[in-house]
């Protein structure tokens, strides 16, 4: 991998200088900086990363959801993957959400590409992006009345009859 123009440490120190205690947690798995921020400040943080003259996180790679059913009060996690094409560095911004009220502010005003990504995350995890212009299902069929990537739902099609669990090791 070619060299980045700024380091993870620089990224983190700029974020901490700007947001202080709002950077709840940070880690660097596989050399990529991850930071946790409060759910109500994701928009602020992402906007700062995008608009900052030094960081220039100008590309939103992906928005993802995660479900940790055991973590009470912060079952759902929303993950923003940002990429600075100028500085050749990537990072993740994460926020935990309670499953009863999984709401976070939309970032469609910052990145147009967030539109479909937020719809997809809503479709699979039920995370509500407040202020999204058209928050409805995008990939699953419209009749689907649950969020299939949440872990309480089985991955398999429940109507399949020809599979005998004895022959499939479950």
């Amino acid at each position: 991998m070619s060299k980045s123009k700024i380091t993870n440490e620089q990224l983190l120190s700029e974020l901490q200088a700007k947001f202080g205690d709002a950077i709840l947690q940070s880690s660097q798995p596989y050399g990529m900086l991850n930071v946790y921020v409060p759910a109500d400040r994701t928009h602020e943080v992402v906007e700062f990363l995008q608009k900052s003259e030094t960081l220039k996180m100008n590309y939103l790679t992906n928005i993802a959801g995660i479900h940790y059913p055991e973590d009470k009060g912060k079952e759902l996690v929303v993950v923003y993957q940002l990429h600075s094409l100028v500085n050749n560095i990537r990072m993740r911004v994460k926020a935990t959400l309670p499953i009863e009220k999984p709401e976070v502010q939309t970032i469609t005003d910052l990145y147009s590409g967030a539109n479909w990504m937020e719809r997809e995350t809503y479709d699979f995890f039920g995370i509500i992006f407040k202020g999204h212009p058209n928050l409805k299902k995008i990939l699953n069929m419209e009749e689907q009345d649950y969020f299939p990537m949440r872990k309480e739902y089985p991955l398999e099609d429940p109507t399949r009859e020809d599979k005998d669990n004895r022959f499939f090791g479950r």
Partner: protein
């Protein structure tokens, strides 16, 4: 062809027989229409994934589906006789598949190509239809993941057998009406009668 024997004297003096004239054939209307249908099926390829690639190979010059009177792929369901469903059908695609089937005129046949179209295959998951026979009636299933072009040809030949032997009354029969009603498909061929 009926034999019209004409005796011809040859130089050796031995009479030989030749065949000449229009001749005639006794057959049943069912059979002759069945033969015509079977040898001019217009397939509608509904190819969604890798089985579609195997199907494209079947259409190409090596395997040459055109030998079976299928020179022309009909991408309009209204002129198609044979719906070839090749590939995984996601649940979101079900209304489309049904609409395509309903738009086809009678008589129509359905060939389900590959494990996914026949049973969902290994996509045992919330988003994939577990076999197209849950939403439309299927005449012939072709196993395989994906099937070899030879297998698809075999499936097509089985459809031809069905078309050849099908009674002209079948599509008007109570049994056929019952079959379609199980799938909640309107059978207007009966209403016109």
């Amino acid at each position: 062809m009926g034999k019209v024997n004409v005796t011809v004297e040859t130089e050796s003096g031995v009479p030989t027989y030749s065949y000449a004239g229009g001749g005639f054939k006794l057959t049943k209307l069912d059979k002759i229409i069945g033969a015509a249908r079977a040898n001019s099926l217009w397939p509608l390829p509904f190819a969604t994934s890798c089985c579609g690639i195997a199907y494209m190979a079947t259409m190409g010059p090596n395997y040459d589906l055109a030998r079976f009177g299928m020179e022309r792929m009909s991408f309009s369901p209204r002129q198609a006789d044979l719906l070839i469903v090749a590939g995984t059908i996601a649940k979101k695609l079900v209304p489309v598949l049904r609409q395509v089937y309903e738009q086809m005129a009678e008589p129509k046949w359905v060939l389900s190509v590959g494990a996914c179209a026949s049973s969902g295959g290994f996509f045992d998951t919330y988003s994939v239809l577990q076999g197209i026979d849950r939403v439309i009636p299927v005449d012939v299933y072709v196993p395989g993941c994906p099937p070899r072009p030879e297998q698809i040809l075999d499936g097509v030949m089985n459809i031809q057998k069905l078309a050849k032997s099908e009674s002209l009354r079948r599509r008007y029969s109570e049994e056929y009406k019952h079959l379609l009603s199980k799938y909640n498909i309107e059978n207007d061929i009966n209403e016109q009668k």
